[in-house]
Amino acid sequence: MSDAGETPEGEAAAGGQTGRTRVIRTDYLARVEGEGAMYVKLDGRQVLDVKLRIYEPPRFFEALLRGRAFTEAPDITARICGICPVAYQMSAVRAMEDACGVAIDDGPLRELRRLIYCGEWIESHSLHIYMLHAPDFLGYAGAVEMARDHREIVEQGLQMKKAGNALMALVGGREVHPINVRVGGFYRAPTRAELRTLRDPLERARETALATVRWAAALPFPEVERAPELVALSEPDAYPVDLGRIVSDGGLDIAAAEFDAHVLEQHVEHSNALHARLRERGTYLTGPLARYALASAKLRPLAREAAREVGLGTVCVNPFQSIVVRAVELVQACDEALAIIERYEQPDAPAVEVIPRRAIGHGATEAPRGLLYHRYEIDEDGTILDAKIVPPTSQNQLAIEEDLRAVVEASLDLPDEQLSLRCEQAIRNHDPCISCATHFLKLTVDRG
C-alpha cells in the first residue's frame, strides 16, 4: 500500500503552497475503477515528482488460478474486473485454445465473440464518456450532478450504455460476468431471431454515438501534445478487437507469444502495480489513442467519416481528446455489431471441442482501455500450472505519469485546486482500471 492509504484526507486534498515547494495530491481518485491516488511535487516551476499511486489490495489471481481446470479460466478471470469482464474472458479463451492447438479465427463463433466484445466496448465507453470523463470537461463532480443541468445528455449516454448491456446480456447471459463464454466458443449460440431484437436499440445507439462524436469534439481541450510509443493489435482488414499481431508505431510487430520477450515488468515503490515497458524503448501506451493511430484506416466507413467530419485526423496526439476517439470507437462498435447481426447464421454447434495437452498458450485482445495479455501453462489433463496476466492499466501507468508531468508543466499557473482537477482529468483520459491493475502486479512496497 502506498502511503496515500495511510493519510486519508479525503478526495482532493489539494495541498497548500509552502515556500517554493508545492504539492498537488488527490488521495482517493474519483470516477476511476478501483482505488488509486495521485501525487505531484513541484519546486517553483520545476516538477520534482509525479506519481500515480495504486493502493488497492492485491487479490492474488495468478496464484489462485494454479491448480484450477483450464476450462475455469474465463469464469475466474472475469472476476478481475466488473467493468471489462468480457476482455478477460476473451483473452483467457484465446490463450487456452492456443495452448490446445485450436484456432477460432473466422466463422460464426468468431463473429459472436466480436459481437459480445462490441457490447462491452459500447457499455464501457458510454460509461466512461458520459459518467466518468464528461463531468471533468463541464465542471461537475459526477454524472448525477451533471444531469441537473444537462439531463438530456446524461440520459442519452445512459441509453447507449443500456444498448451495450443488452447486447452483452443477450449473448453472454448477463452484463457483469457473463456466463455464456467458454473455451471453444459458447454454451449456447443465440438464434437469428434473438439477435434481431437488438437491431432497434443498436440503431438508436449508433445515432447517439454519431451525435456523441460531434458533441465531444466541441468540448474545451487543454493544449497538450504527447507522443508515447503506441501499441495495439493489428489485423489485415479490421479494426483491432479480439485477434491479431501486436504492433506499434515504433516498429514492434510480434505475435502474442512473443509478448514476454519484448515487454519488461518493473517493480516500483509507490504502486501496488508493476510498470510495463518495452525492453527496447521504454514507455508505451495502449488503448483507444493507440488503436486509432494504428488502425484508423481500418475503421468502418461510418466511423471514419464521423472522425473526418470533426477534423480528428488520422492520429490524435492530445490525450484529452481521447473522449472523441472513444466516441468514434462507439460508432465503430455499434456499426460493426449491427453488421454482424445482419449476416449472422447460427452455427451448428455452439462450441468446438478443445482437448487439453501439456502446453503454454498466449492470448491478447483489446479491452476497452487497452491491450490485455494472458499466458497459461497447462498440464496434459488441463490443470493450470502457471498463469500470467498483464492488464492494460499496468501497461499504461508510465505513459499516464508522463502525461501528468507534461500537463503540470503546461498548467503551472493554475491555482492548486484547478491544477489538481486538471491532473485528475489527465489520469481519467486513459480510463484506468485500478482493480485490474493491482490484481496481477508483482509489486514491491518499500516500507522503509
Binding site: 500500500m1 492509504g5 484526507e9 479525503g10 478526495e11 482532493a12 474519483a30 470516477r31 475503477e33 478501483g34 488497492e56 489490495p57 492485491p58 487479490r59 492474488f60 489471481f61 495468478e62 496464484a63 489462485l64 475455469e72 469464469d75 472476476r79 474486473c81 466488473g82 467493468i83 460509461l127 459518467m131 465542471g139 461537475y140 463532480a141 459526477g142 454524472a143 448525477v144 450532478e145 451533471m146 444531469a147 441537473r148 443541468d149 440520459e155 445512459l158 441509453q159 450504455k161 443500456k162 448491456n165 447471459g173 452484463e175 457483469v176 460476468h177 456466463i179 455464456n180 454454451y187 449456447r188 492548486d416 482537477l421 482493480s435 496481477f440 514491491t444 512496497v445 518499500d446 516500507r447
Partner: protein, 278 residues
C-alpha cells in the same frame, strides 16, 4: 477537505428531507457497485429520491456527515488488509443501515481461496518480494467484522434486487429477496432441468436464487455464484454429481469458487478434499 467549486455539487450536509446513500468499496472487482450505474432507467430517478452522498466510482462530490450517519451504506468487497479491517469499523460507525452487496462482501469472494492455502505460499507465487506484501491471511466477509443489516448475494448481484433492497428500505418494509434455490427459478422460467434431462452437473439445487437461473437457460449447469441457499443439501447433490462422473477433485473445485468461504460450500469442499486425499 478543500471545498471545490464544481457545479451541481449540493451544499454540505443532507438535502432537506432526503435520505443519504453512501457506497463503499473494499477488496473487489467493482462489478457490484457498477450494477448501480447499470440501472440506466432508474439511476436519475433514484438520485432524486435519495441523496447520493458518497460514491467515488461515480462522483468526486463527498457530502460529509459530521452530525449524523449516512442513512444507507452499501458495501462492496471483502476484508483482506489490516487497514481495511479498521476502515469497515469507521464505515459501520457512520452508517445507520449497512447493506453488503455481492459475494466478496457476503462470503469473502474468489480471493477467499487464500483461506484454503498458506497465504505465504500464495504471496510467493505472485510477488517477487513477499516480505513487502501487506495482506491478511484470510479474505473475510463484512459480517465477520461488523453487524450487517442486510446481505445481498451474487457474483455479481442482480441490479433489480439491488433496487428492490434500496426501495424496500425507503418504504420501510422487508426486501422481497427469496432464499430458496435456483431450481425454483428454473421452474418459474420454464427451463428444462439440465441435470435431469442432459446429465449436466448443476449447483442449482443448493444455490441461492436471485440471478434468474441464467446458466441452465444457456444450456449450462449453475456454478453457484449466488452462494448457498437457505437449507442446502450438498451431500445429496454431490452424490448425484459423482454418479454423473464428477471426481472428488472436481467436486472440491465446484464448491470452491466465488463463495468458497460460505460455510455450507466450505464444508462441502473440505469434505471432498479429505476424501480425495484418502
Amino acid at each position: 477537505m478543500t471545498p471545490r467549486t464544481l457545479k451541481g455539487t449540493p451544499p454540505a450536509g443532507a438535502q432537506a428531507g432526503k435520505q443519504t446513500l453512501a457506497v463503499w468499496k473494499f477488496s473487489s472487482c467493482d462489478g457490484c457497485q457498477l450494477s448501480l450505474l447499470d440501472c440506466e432507467d432508474e439511476l436519475l430517478a433514484l438520485a432524486e429520491r435519495l441523496q447520493i452522498a458518497y460514491f467515488l466510482e461515480a462522483s468526486s462530490a463527498i457530502v460529509e456527515m459530521p452530525t449524523r450517519p449516512y442513512d444507507i451504506s452499501i458495501v462492496e468487497g471483502s476484508i483482506t488488509t489490516a487497514h481495511d479491517a479498521e476502515r469497515i469499523q469507521e464505515v459501520r460507525a457512520s452508517s445507520r443501515t449497512l447493506i453488503t452487496i455481492g459475494a466478496c462482501a457476503t462470503a469473502g469472494g474468489i480471493q477467499a481461496l487464500r483461506n484454503f492455502a498458506d497465504v505465504q505460499d500464495f504471496t510467493r507465487v505472485v510477488y517477487a518480494s513477499p516480505d513487502f506484501i501487506s495482506t491478511l491471511a484470510t479474505s473475510t466477509p463484512i459480517s465477520a467484522h461488523v453487524p450487517v443489516d442486510f446481505e445481498l448475494n451474487g457474483c455479481p448481484i442482480n441490479k433489480h434486487q439491488l433496487l428492490e433492497v434500496i426501495g424496500a428500505h425507503l418504504a420501510r418494509r422487508r426486501p422481497r429477496v427469496r432464499a430458496h434455490s435456483v431450481c425454483v427459478e428454473c421452474k418459474r422460467r420454464g427451463t428444462v432441468c439440465v441435470m435431469v434431462a442432459h446429465g449436466t452437473a448443476c449447483l442449482g439445487p443448493v444455490t441461492h436464487a436471485g440471478c434468474g437461473a441464467i446458466c441452465p437457460a444457456y444450456d449450462r449447469g449453475c456454478y453457484g455464484c449466488y452462494g448457498p441457499m437457505e437449507s442446502p443439501n450438498t451431500a445429496s447433490l454431490s452424490a448425484r454429481m459423482a454418479q454423473l462422473g464428477s471426481e472428488e477433485v472436481d467436486l472440491v473445485r465446484v464448491y470452491r469458487t466465488f463463495n468458497a468461504a460460505a460455510d455450507p460450500f466450505r464444508e462441502a469442499s473440505e469434505a471432498h478434499e479429505d476424501r480425495s486425499r484418502a
